[in-house]
């Protein structure tokens, strides 16, 4: 499918067109650091091509090289048929390229207004005034920014900044847009908006797009993609093709006691993870029945509540591919062992470990946190989910006694937030966004330092240090400098340091952003262990919707407020109750089909790569209606089936509902 142009409105183009970008064996290193090593890829006109990989995988370097703003050391690059081997050659294609670098709105000018920003980019690109007026109007309407023309860019929200960035990149109507992590840290509603706008433009102007992301769950948005890890391409192709490269089944189990099941499964199936109350096991067997039998055999004697197969995700394939190529070795060397415990783990519940009651915080006129209340039980993993700037960090800072609240109260580990902030600090562990490790000290020195800071009795320091090393899987790297560790290990060290004094409550602020999937899974293993066995109450913030599924309980934050507060399953159920089933439609002409479905008035219709998602109260009837509509326009319907909604679907629906409510008032 990716081989044919998607521009044509009527008939698919049969001739294979010239590729827009051809990359052959490109290498790029910064001094000794290898960024890109032997990457090959081809981007066809009209497609949205994705680069997916964790931070530091080499995505940005590759994109900059293609945009002609970064040199490379070896290999061949052709853009629009032009060999890019010099600055002069790069200049020749820059007029047809739009490039948006990484960092939300960072390439825009904070002091300039929305319109001034657009005008500046237009002037740089010599857009004639008549065309500029027309395009500006169109793009502003599409992004719903037309009412904010005079607002300085620095006062825009994250999602608006990102849309403005997109307008500025598109104002000269490039033939190829290169967008570096445009959706990182943006709220899910803006993310959907963004993808919709991109798909629209693609449909209208035949623009080719190269987009990178660190979110595996965005893979479905791309026509084709490359999985990038440590400067190499792990797999290339359509999302489904990549999934098939690592065939297997994903089995979801509800079993008691969870921690014992986890321990057993880990031995046989390395790709086992606890997701909230369930366990997901990736079994490298295509048949779901066989896989289920294998899992059951391992769990013999435990009380299995429920066991069924679900669709595998790209992340499972990614991890499986990493394992196949032994790229996970470094991580595996420091594999944290789940220690065998004799004490029978008790279920969640019991006492309240964290309680926020009507917490508010103002910064000048700006209300960062607005009347936030929730409870976290001991042994529970509680997720505070929201976009950058939603107020998550401010909530944590207030609860940990770093920031005094403007209103409301809170209890942490049995101490009052107002009167006993010192007591709180002694009873909690806190891992901040930028892990507060001392880069020039070794792993051991860092742990010992934190033990002394938290006044661990002298006699226990050695024992606690050993415990941290074992628990966090740091054996073998004790004498390495913290600054020289990989992101994933550094993050486990930060976690270990925060746990050295046996806190009852653990706060984690965006702990896994930028960590690769394997590292992230290890990290969650440890959190699970701490919660289920050590009975630590864990409050974790994240803007990654996929990660949120690991939590026992979730609170969605938006613009300083908690929008909804429930377990992930309850959230999905209530979405299905309020808005209907999530349907996935596969057709041969997705862009046309989307237009038709939107015109027919279906709620939440959005394009995910080649598929369309929408919400329908009565799925049967909706299915029939859509089939009829598509048949009228001679579009072949390849499939239509219900899907389990994701947390992101929930978030988007809830925010939209709230905004609609606010508008109607």
């Amino acid at each position: 499918m990716g081989q044919t142009a998607l521009v044509g409105d009527t008939q698919p183009v049969l001739v294979t067109p010239e590729p827009v970008v051809t990359v052959r064996d490109i290498c790029k290193r910064y001094r000794k650091q290898i960024a890109v090593e032997g990457v090959d890829l081809t981007i066809q006109p009209g497609e949205i091509y994705g680069l997916i990989g964790p931070d530091g995988a080499g995505k940005s370097s590759l994109m900059k090289a293609i945009a002609g703003v970064l040199t490379f050391d070896r290999g061949q690059l052709e853009v629009f048929g032009e060999r890019i081997d010099s600055e002069a050659a790069a200049e020749r294609v820059k007029g047809r390229i739009g490039f948006m670098p990484q960092g939300l709105g960072l390439n825009l000018y904070a002091e300039l207004s929305v319109e001034e920003n657009i005008d500046f980019f237009a002037a740089l690109r010599e857009v004639p005034p008549e065309l500029l007026a027309e395009r500006k109007h169109k793009l502003l309407t599409m992004t719903r920014l037309e009412n904010f023309l005079d607002r300085p860019m620095k006062q825009l929200s994250g999602g608006m900044k990102q849309k403005l960035g997109l307008i500025c990149t598109l104002i000269h109507e490039p033939k190829l847009v290169i967008l570096d992590e445009p959706t990182t840290g943006v709220d899910p509603v803006s993310r959907r908006d963004f993808w919709a706008i991109l798909a629209d433009l693609l449909r209208e102007r035949g623009i080719t797009a190269l987009v990178s992301t660190a979110y595996m769950d965005e893979a479905a948005r791309f026509h084709r993609l490359s999985l990038i890890y440590a400067g190499r391409v792990l797999a290339e192709g359509e999302p489904d093709q990549i999934r098939q490269q690592a065939p297997g089944s994903l089995i979801e189990i509800k079993v008691e006691p969870q921690i014992e099941a986890l321990r057993r499964l880990k031995v046989k199936f390395p790709q086992t993870e606890a997701v909230g109350a369930v366990i997901r096991v990736f079994v490298a067997v295509a048949s779901t029945e066989q896989a289920t039998e294998q899992v059951k055999a391992v769990l013999d004697g435990l009380a299995i509540d429920d066991i069924h197969g679900i669709e595998t995700e790209l992340e499972d394939a990614f991890v499986a591919l990493l394992r196949q190529r032994h790229l996970a070795d470094e991580q595996a060397a420091a594999n944290p062992q789940i220690p065998v415990t004799t004490a029978a783990p008790t279920p969640i519940g019991g006492e309240i470990a964290i309680e926020a009651a009507g917490l508010s915080r103002e910064f000048g006129d700006f209300r960062a946190v607005d009347n936030v209340s929730f409870k976290v039980m001991s042994g529970e993993i509680f997720g505070l989910l929201g976009a950058n700037g939603a107020g998550k960090t401010t909530v944590i800072k207030m609860l940990t006694g770093i920031l005094p609240p403007s209103g409301g109260s809170g209890q942490v580990a049995g101490a009052n937030m107002h009167s006993a902030s010192q007591a709180i600090k002694e009873r909690i562990g806190y891992v901040s966004q930028a892990f507060s490790l001392y880069q020039d000290m070794t792993v051991l020195e860092n742990i010992r330092l934190y033990a002394r800071i938290y006044a661990v009795p002298r006699k226990q320091i050695n024992q606690r240090t050993e415990w941290v090393i074992e628990m966090a899987g740091l054996a073998g790297v004790e004498n390495r400098l913290a600054g020289k560790l990989s992101m994933g290990i550094r993050q486990r060290l930060a976690l270990g340091c925060a746990l050295v004094h046996r806190p009852q409550v653990l706060f984690l602020d965006e702990p896994t952003s930028g960590v690769d999937p394997i590292g992230r899974r290890r990290f969650w293993d440890i959190l699970m262990q701490m919660a289920r066995v050590e009975k630590v109450a864990i409050l974790v913030t994240t803007h990654n919707m996929g990660e949120a599924e690991h939590c026992d309980h979730l609170a969605l934050m938006h613009a300083g407020q908690i929008i909804t507060d429930a377990t992930p399953e309850q959230m999905k159920l209530s979405l299905q109750r309020d808005a209907g089933e999530l349907l996935e439609i596969v057709t041969d002409q997705p862009l046309m089909a989307l237009q038709i479905v939107e015109q027919a008035g279906f709620e939440g219709a959005a394009l995910f790569g080649q598929r369309i998602h929408l919400l329908a109260k009565d799925p049967e009837q909706a299915g029939r209606q859509i089939a009829a509509l598509l048949a009228q326009k001679q579009i072949t319907l390849l499939g239509i089936h219900p899907r389990i909604p994701s947390i992101e679907d929930v978030f988007v629906y809830r925010i939209m509902a709230r905004e609609q409510e606010a508008r109607s008032r």
């Binding site: 910064y30 002609g68 703003v69 040199t71 600055e87 820059k94 490039f99 670098p101 740089l124």
Partner: protein
């Protein structure tokens, strides 16, 4: 070269500067406050040296002798002490910098033709001031000796005191100070401060302005567009050059009006030469910005590369002519020296184009080289 794109970049840059309060105050407030602080702070004049007196003779002649010091504008009489022990704490606390002790029988010794020793104690902690103070003490002492000798001769030979005085000093030195008749150090310092401030602030602003774009990534808008290198550099630098040109006028006004330094030269030549000097120092900032990746690094490098030449090799502290050969050579390598000559020449000496064209030419050459090197080093397809 596309004028529309240059204009777009200038306009954008200018907007950003105007709306960023911190940056705007940095652009205008810092030069003015530097001028005030240094103008009032650096005093090279050694005057009003506080001193105390221990007169153990208490005679008419000892009072005559001491009055020569008390009446001098170079010394500031703080009072008499009763014995030597009292002097030490005063000197130690810097209450006085100089003390003079007239021993007993000062008058008696002099009248009977014997030498009369006088002890002077000078604070040696500031060698420059000490050397100057010593010069004053010797000069006053000589004057007293001369007066004594003249008195003796006039009495012995029956001459009038004037005739006697001319006999004692057969060679009479007539002193006239040129350019700075009153030897006011501020007259020389104010123009030199213009050199110093215009050496520091334009590179600061330029380096921060460019590196800021590198730091937050907006430089990629330039890299990835069809704007040429020259268009970007011109558009980016002109606003900063404009700010510096305004600062030339402000500092010029302050030097002349606030500090009273006379301006005797050609205003047009001085202004143009100053703008060339600004372009030159702006070029230094540009060059720095190509190597620095963070604003902090840009600031540090700018301080190092601008302060050292402008303080040590400009003639601000030590005249170039009194440096050793190697330092003189180094001084000629930095632009600061040429502009110091232009500023002092225009203010105090009243000279212009005819005498200073060579120095202005050196600055122009310097500017061209800096801009050209920056142009060649600036790339839109970078290595890292």
């Amino acid at each position: 070269m596309n004028l529309h794109r240059i204009k777009a970049i200038i306009y954008k840059e200018w907007r950003e500067i105007l709306r960023d309060r911190l940056f705007l105050s940095l652009a205008f407030f810092v030069p003015v406050s530097m001028m005030l602080v240094f103008g009032y702070g650096i005093k090279m004049d050694v005057e009003n040296i506080p001193f105390a007196v221990l007169d153990q003779d208490r005679s008419a002649m000892s009072r005559d002798y001491l009055h020569l010091f008390m009446d001098s504008r170079y010394f500031d009489y703080q009072g008499d002490v009763q014995n030597e022990r009292e002097l030490e704490p005063l000197l130690a606390d810097s209450k006085i910098r100089f003390a003079i002790i007239v021993p007993p029988r000062f008058q008696e010794n002099l009248l009977s033709g014997r030498p009369a020793p006088v002890q002077s104690l000078i604070d040696g902690t500031f060698p420059f001031r000490t050397a100057t103070s010593k010069g004053y003490v010797i000069a006053i002492n000589n004057a007293f000796n001369g007066k004594l000798l003249a008195g003796f001769i006039s009495k012995k030979m029956g001459l009038s005191p004037e005739q006697a005085a001319s006999l004692v000093q057969p060679v009479k030195l007539e002193l006239r100070y040129l350019y700075n008749q009153e030897l006011k150090s501020i007259w020389s310092i104010a123009p030199a401060m213009m050199m110093f401030i215009l050496m520091m602030t334009p590179p600061f602003l330029t380096a921060l302005g460019v590196v800021r774009e590198k730091e937050n990534g907006s430089i990629y808008n330039i890299y990835s567009s069809t704007v040429t290198r020259a268009e970007f550099l011109i558009g980016k630098l002109l606003p900063y050059l404009g700010i510096s040109a305004v600062n030339v006028v402000i500092l010029w006004f302050m030097a002349a009006q606030v500090f009273g330094a006379p301006f005797k030269g050609d205003p047009l030549f001085f202004f143009l030469a100053s703008v060339v000097y600004d372009s030159c120092t702006t070029g230094i900032g540009l060059l720095v910005s190509l190597f620095a990746n963070t604003q902090v690094a840009a600031m540090m490098i700018t301080v190092v590369v601008t302060i050292i030449p402008s303080v040590l090799y400009s003639g601000l502290l030590v005249p170039i002519a009194s440096m050793d050969a190697a330092s003189q050579f180094e001084a000629h390598l930095f632009p600061a020296m040429y502009y110091t000559d232009i500023a002092i020449g225009s203010f105090l000496k009243g000279i212009g184009m005819e005498q200073l064209w060579g120095r202005a030419g050196a600055l122009l050459l310097y500017t061209l080289v800096l801009w050209l090197v920056s142009y060649l080093l600036f790339h839109k397809r970078v290595r890292a």
